[in-house]
């Protein structure tokens, strides 16, 4: 029984954090946020040099053949730096869709390019996972896609898209075949879009019903992104509370401030084990995986919202300014929370998974 990260996993996470601190410092996050760049190519190149795009891809296709737990650790590091990168679409969802449901020909055509970071990929899943709201979703007929989907992940600049239609079937289509309209959101560290198709020819990913696995993986990775971002906010709040002095002493010596920090830590620390287990279960306990993935997504949404607002308060007026940049983390978890279903939506899914809801 060993409920801990391996030395290799710790090393990978540390080196990723180190590279991101250099490649995606706050100044770079800020410049990406203020630009029209579809992808932060320089940051992605650094991640590619570490092998991140191919982490989940089998070695026979040029990847590292790692598991979702490794991806969650990478997502945590990326979230802690609020790094702009098409990680969820290119390194997780597209490789997973191809591995689970792609034909050998589709895998051979795309996985090596994804693993090498030569192309990026996006995922168009929103209506099929969380339900349609402003857009109807995508209909497939005679191998052609028609319709519109909201909150598509990592699609701007993407060479390849994985699309779920309204019936939950998966399709593969080149990015150039879609009309990709940027959606301005609170979170300027990543790009989200409305994606429209008009009788666009697509290839089916017909090997398996892989949408539930894509949903579970996305839940885990979003939870890990929130874990990393929330932990970074807590760390910043604690550092600020030690350094900032008022009334002749560090504000962190006042119980009013100290207890806010303790409450953040008390809520966040058990989340780490929840995210680890949810990621581990995806590969090693498939019967439990959907439920723990949903709980990780919903619970991290609640805890990271609490941490984001509390850490901002610990920073006082400075936390509210653009100067400090804390708002990039605040907005990152704000977006992760809503993406692919807010916590109420995900909890009702969790209840249905257990047969507990009507």
């Amino acid at each position: 029984m060993d409920f801990a990260l391996s030395p290799d996993q710790r090393l990978m996470q540390d080196s990723l954090t180190g590279v991101l601190a250099r490649a995606a410092p706050l100044a770079r996050v800020r410049s990406f946020a203020g630009s029209g760049e579809p992808v932060a190519g320089d940051v992605w190149a650094e991640l590619t040099a570490l092998g991140v795009p191919g982490m989940l891809i089998a070695e026979e296709h040029g990847g590292l053949g790692l598991k979702l737990l490794d991806m969650a650790l990478a997502a945590e590091a990326i979230g802690s730096c609020v790094a702009p990168s098409p990680f969820l679409g290119s390194a997780v969802l597209a490789p997973l869709a191809l591995a689970l449901a792609g034909s050998p020909a589709q895998q051979a055509a795309w996985l090596p390019k994804l693993a090498a970071g030569e192309i990026t990929a996006g995922a168009v899943l929103h209506e099929a996972v969380a339900g349609a709201r402003d857009a109807p979703g995508v209909e497939a007929s005679d191998g052609k896609l028609t319709g519109a989907s909201m909150f598509a992940v990592d699609t701007p600049g993407a060479d390849l898209l994985v699309v779920a239609d309204r019936a939950g079937r998966l399709w593969l289509i080149e990015g150039s075949a879609a009309d990709i309209v940027l959606l301005p959101t609170i979170d300027a560290t990543r790009r989200f879009a409305e994606v429209r198709f008009d009788h666009a020819a697509a290839e089916p990913l017909a090997g398996a019903d892989a949408l539930p696995a894509l949903r579970d993986a996305a839940f885990v990775i979003l939870a890990a992104d929130m874990l990393g971002a929330a932990q970074a906010m807590l760390d910043k709040a604690v550092a600020y509370a030690k350094e900032r002095r008022q009334f002749g002493r560090p504000i962190g010596s006042f119980q009013a401030v100290k207890h806010l920090c303790a409450e953040m830590a008390a809520e966040l620390e058990p989340c780490r084990a929840l995210v680890w287990y949810a990621a581990y279960a995806f590969d090693h306990a498939p019967a439990e995986a959907p439920l723990v993935a949903a709980h990780a997504k919903a619970h991290l949404s609640e805890v990271s919202r609490f941490v984001a607002r509390t850490a901002t308060e610990v920073h006082g007026g400075m936390g509210f300014t653009d100067l400090l940049g804390l708002h990039f983390w605040f907005k990152r978890v704000g977006l992760d929370r809503q993406l692919l279903g807010g916590p109420e939506n995900v909890r009702s899914h969790a209840a249905r998974l257990q047969g507990l809801a009507a």
Partner: protein
């Protein structure tokens, strides 16, 4: 991450399960009383499922400490619905303290009868004027010949009315700095001058007592550790207590009871579990239960590897007690008006246990180090924030 037990521990788990199957008819029934509980305890010690790591010389089983085996035993007992061995402050707090700091004579006199349940202990720590600031305690023990003479009052003393013995903090050096003037004494509750008064709580029961000492004479030899070192001895004991509050296995069992309740009960013909608002609260709690369960596995792995538990360990009491309280709160809310029935009556659910837990758990949130003291500990030891100080 590898959550498989491996062949050695799987074999051990099978052995424990086998014991529980073979001895199912020897589980003490609720009506078996104290004799039944003591007989079961003796059987458990014989097989190493109680007093497992206590040396045989002191009446234990004498196994090497193995945290994973201890956990396997606990889980197998829960899964089989088997009564665990005796608990209480004597076994969980005094025995480890004596093993670490007691004299050979104290160990030989007290550990074995305590393990067998023949001697029941209570703890004399808190006082009306010394709660969170325990080290300010003022119960005095003055020297008189070969004895200490004790005067003062203790409070929150559970099992004082049934206890044969007490382990008690007293001030022996009133002129010393507050932490340095305390000694740790053990003495009989039948000593003349001791009065126990039940302390009725908000639950309607008297789960605690007040204990008054008037010229209570205790031989000086009944000190554990040295004079003036009682604070250090007490901290040894408190360390053993902290692990008991917020246990994730108990939380998981209580959550399962809540699910069963919500599946069984109806309002206007609709199962409570099918109510979307109640269901949402239930799912939010389930996420917390799972987080604390996996956090427990993480802490356990750290303990096996000899690591300090860190933040993951420091948050268990605060989060676990609060979660238990919230589970009881949801049960009461789900039951609606029926949730307020209490003590007796044909409409009562689960004997009124949910209301009792809701109230008693608030006591546990306060007791054993209040939630606010826990937050100080998390902030200062876990996050390295400065202690509250004087203005510079």
């Amino acid at each position: 991450m590898d959550l498989a037990l491996g062949p050695t521990y799987e074999a051990f788990r099978d052995e424990v399960r086998g014991f529980l199957v073979a001895n199912r008819d020897r589980f003490p029934s609720p009506g078996a009383g104290r004799a039944g509980a003591l007989a079961w305890q003796a059987l458990l010690i014989e097989h190493g499922y109680a007093a497992r790591t206590i040396p045989q010389a002191y009446g234990g089983f004498g196994a090497e400490p193995d945290i994973l085996k201890s956990r396997i035993i606990a889980e197998a007992f829960v899964a089989a619905g088997a009564p665990t061995g005796l608990g209480g402050q004597g076994i969980s707090m005094l025995v480890p303290t004596l093993l670490e700091l007691g004299t050979e004579e104290q160990k030989r006199s007290w550990i074995s009868p305590t393990l067998r349940g023949e001697v029941v202990w209570c703890q004399g720590y808190s006082e009306p004027g010394s709660g969170s600031d325990l080290a300010s305690l003022s119960t005095r023990a003055t020297e008189d010949g070969d004895d200490f003479v004790i005067n003062g009052q203790k409070i929150w003393t559970s099992t004082a009315a049934q206890a044969d013995m007490i382990f008690c903090l007293v001030r022996t050096e009133p002129e010393a700095e507050k932490h340095a003037g305390i000694s740790y004494l053990i003495f009989s509750m039948k000593t003349p001058g001791i009065e126990v008064r039940p302390l009725r709580t908000m639950t309607g029961g008297a789960e605690f007592n007040e204990v008054f000492f008037t010229d209570v004479r205790v031989p000086k030899s009944q000190i554990v550790g040295k004079r003036g070192e009682g604070w250090r001895v007490a901290n040894t004991t408190l360390r053993h207590e902290r692990g008991m509050l917020g246990d994730p296995n108990a939380i998981e069992a209580r959550f399962a009871e809540l699910v069963a309740l919500m599946e069984k009960e109806h309002t206007a013909g609709v199962r409570l579990i099918d109510d979307p608002v109640l269901g949402d609260r239930l799912m939010a709690l389930q996420a917390r239960v799972l987080a604390m369960k996996f956090n427990g596995l993480r802490v356990l792995t750290g303990q096996i590897g000899g690591e300090a538990p860190g933040l993951a360990g420091l948050v268990v009491k605060l989060q676990g007690c609060e979660l238990n309280h919230q589970i009881a709160a949801l049960a009461i809310d789900a039951l609606g008006e029926a949730g307020v029935l209490y003590e007796t009556g044909e409409h009562l659910r689960a004997g009124g246990a949910w209301q009792w837990r809701y109230m008693f758990d608030l006591g546990l949130i306060i007791g054993g180090g209040t939630a606010q003291i826990q937050k100080n500990i998390i902030a200062e030891r876990g996050l390295g924030l400065p202690r509250e100080g004087k203005a510079a």
